[in-house]
Amino acid sequence: MPMRVARIFFAILPFLSGFVACKKVVQVDLNNAAPQIVIEGEVTDMPGPYQVKISKTVPFGSGNNFPPVNGAIVRITDSTTGFTSALLENDSSGIYRTNAFVGQHGHTYLLSVNSEGMSYAASSAMPAAVRLDSVNFVRNLDLNNKPAINAVANFQDPPGPGNKYQFTEFVNGVQVPQIFVFEDRLSDGRYIRNTLYNDTVRLHQNDTVLVRMNCIDRNIYDYFFTLLQISGNGNFQSASPANPNSNLSNGALGYFSAHTVSQKSLVVY
């Protein structure tokens, strides 16, 4: 919510003068940090297999081709039952898959990755499930004062603080490149109508929209909340950007999340 407020301030700014901000592409001389490992993994309450993607950072000036990390030893362990799954790499894609099992609510999962002589670990506890009740659409003004259609995720937050949610929106099968998170810090036990303010992909009538709601643990909320702060597209950016707070050890970028999944698909009306 405060993020949204700040965005609106910046959006109003140009009206002050009529001297709207000038915008241009510039060349910035940036350092090239040594390649860093990026790990992105999940376990859900939907039937597996689950996957862990491992890749590397590239310099800013390179194309958006992120080299996969091959030959890593990847394991996911259910620390509640002691069950371990050794993941197998799919060709040389940097994508590692578990065998088929189903993540359990309340269980804590451990990820371990060994690659190029380094080892990385993370743990994530799968929260109790909250069902996505319904999705509807509202018409709002976007940041440029144009009417826009946004999806609203409706659900009942269970009593007791600490529930964290992450949403993913797909429009006609394509994921909207935007981060949506919600926590019940100020909303404990309410019926939540969370508008997914979509500033990147416009919704039109008859589009098919899939909204996926994940219940995530505190660390993963923290990860996506801090990732959101550095991924402000357009004219909003954090005053002092920093890498998101990851639950991975040893300086690896990315996250490992055990979360629930509840989703609804419908056609924009």
Binding site: P2, V5, I8, F9, I12, F15, L16, S17, F19, A21, C22, K23, K24, V25, V26, Q27, V28, L30, N31, A33, Q36, V38, E40, K56, T57, V58, F60, G63, N64, L141, N145, V152, Q175, Q178, I179, R185, L186, S187, G189, R190, R193, T195, T226, L227, Q229, I230, G232, N233, G234, N235, Q237, S238, A239, S240, P241, A242, N243, P244, N245, L253
Partner: protein
Amino acid sequence: MLRIFLLILCCFPVCLQAQTFTVSGTIRDKRTGEVLIGASAILLEMPRSGMTSNSYGFYSLSARPGNYTLVVSFTGYRADTLKIVLDRDIRLPVGLIAGGTELQEVVISSIRRNDNVTRPLMGVQKLSTSDIRNVPVIFGEKDVLKTIQLLPGIQAAGDGNSGFFVRGGGADQNLILLDEATVYNPSHLLGFFSTFNSDAIKDITVYKGGMPAEYGGRLSSVVDIKMNDGNNKEDHFGGGIGLISTRLNAEGPIVKDKGSFSISGRRTYADLFLRLSPDSNINSNSLYFYDLNVKANYKLNERNRFYLSGYFGRDALSFGGAFGIDYGNATGTARWNHVFNSRLFSNTSFIYSDYSYKIKINSNNNDIDITSDIRDLDLKEDLQYYVNTGNKIDFGFNAIRHAISPGVITASATSSFNSLRIQDKYSLENAAYISHEWSPGKVHLNYGLRLSAFYVLGPGNFYTYDAAGNAVDTAHYRSGQLVTSYFDPEPRFSMSYTLNDEASFKWAYDRNVQVLHLLSNSTSANPTDLWLPSSNIVRPGIADQVSIGYYRNFHDNQYEFSAETYYKAMKNQIDYKNGAQLIANENVESQLLFGKGRAYGLELFIKKKAGKLTGWISYTLSRTELQIDGVNEGKWYPARQDRTHDISIVGIYQANKKWTLSATWVYYTGNAVTFPSGKYRVNDQTAFYYTERNAYRMPAYHRMDVAATLLGKTKRRFGSSWTFSVYNLYGRENAYSIVFQDDPADSSKTQAIQYALFRFVPSVTYNFKF
């Protein structure tokens, strides 16, 4: 308290001479009755007797019995020479006439306008209203806080912004006083305008270091702004119409020669343009601010005078009915000047200050109000004791009660949010001070001590946190119960050593303590930034500063030159954890990181004060660094406002009686910023990889502004002027921000986009008075 002071007084080397008499009184503008602050008074027969009038125009000079010549002078006024026979204490009010050529008419070599050289104060900058009137500003909206940014050591917070940083300190480390009342948010419209309507302002003094002991509470600077008292001879009206706002003011006597009032108001009308828009989405937005300054004073008799002053300003922004915020300050000051005797002047003030905001959100079933405010009640007593020639003691105390409501959320039944009240925070900020200004020969000293005491009071829960920020212990305190307290002595010392009438060396050391901290993790001033008092977790910030300077005047004091260097060490500085939740958070203190800072630099300043062409050049070479546990692996890094070079050139040319031309040019090194050093893919998006904090620089900033003022013919009482100006004359696209993103045209690439705000902003303003 009084007893302690008398005791301390005895310790000062106050050389009481036998049998002296005193001439004292108030120095005013003869035509308007407005008191003159900082006018100089001297007994010609005693060249070292010179002093300047205080904030209420009061002066006091003591000498052995005899015949003397009293000379009173003030910049922009004709000096006055009075023969006096000092055979008893004399009360002598002095009226000066504005205009004329100041000193040339009184050809007395011993009077020199060299206060800047001889006075022990360092790091002090005063701006005259004529400087403010003539310097070009964006949208033609005269603004004291933008004009002071042209002085050395004072940096603009950004393009067109009224926020500023002094010698590397944060924007919240400036104590901004309007008739003694703290103004907590000195800006309108996200920082683009200051809350100070220049029509209402008489005097502005900025202290960058060597603060007199009467000031305290902020680490970096004091900006002391005084409002006009109003004409006590006859009624006058004035106003102006500009690109952004319309201003109106009125002043006049309440009882002729005894009391006067002054009222100034202004309102912007950007929203009126919005309303003209045929687009219903735009014309339902609102965006405006207004402010009102009111002041009245009344002289009961020669010994007692009362003042009442107030400020009220508000911003209102709303966005299509779904979102709105209004915010602003309200201050009030009631003062009583009392002259105990010709040597002892007292002022007692009772001050109220309030800053509040209210957010309304009404969209998609969410009907929510969020409010927050900070309220101060302040009792302040200042006394000045004029012992004898070149020997003055200032002492006093103040007691401020802060009440802060960090946030109240009121939500409707259908809302996704709960109603919530974050507990109010109460505290007492007390201080007592004494300082002595003394001039034994070539050395001029000003030394003193300020004792500050801060008490955190209940009611409320106070938490302690583990390293991860979880509350591990809660202590409950009753209403008025003491939670914790901090005592800090703040020594203040400054001295000048005059080499001759035109040159001096100065040296100063001062410590400042700040008990209120502004929590703000956005790039610009945000109306929802929260003031947080020191507590069991957050300790008061402490800054120690030493400065050394060389002052030199040339050409019969027509040119002033100064070079100052400073080193400032700051303790208990605040930063934020990554992803800190500052809004509506009962545990906001768990979101903070603490560390220290250091700032050092060299400031060069040359000013031409007389002639057709006036103006100044200022250059600052500086460095500001922070070291915060949990940021940048605990290593020192440049503060965002660290600027290596900062140059301002100001020229004002009085072409003839009708035309005044002016121009400014500024250049500064870009802010220290954090840019990515790599990129990766996560959550099906491109994300950027960051290494060191603030290791990159924004492009250098530079800009030229020009203005021309045409003075209309004065018919009877009616006078008018037109001011034409262009901001950013050569249209440089100064980078406001640089953002990194996927190329919208080619998602296989990323790009850097630079945003710039203001290029070629012309404006015209019409001013009138009658």
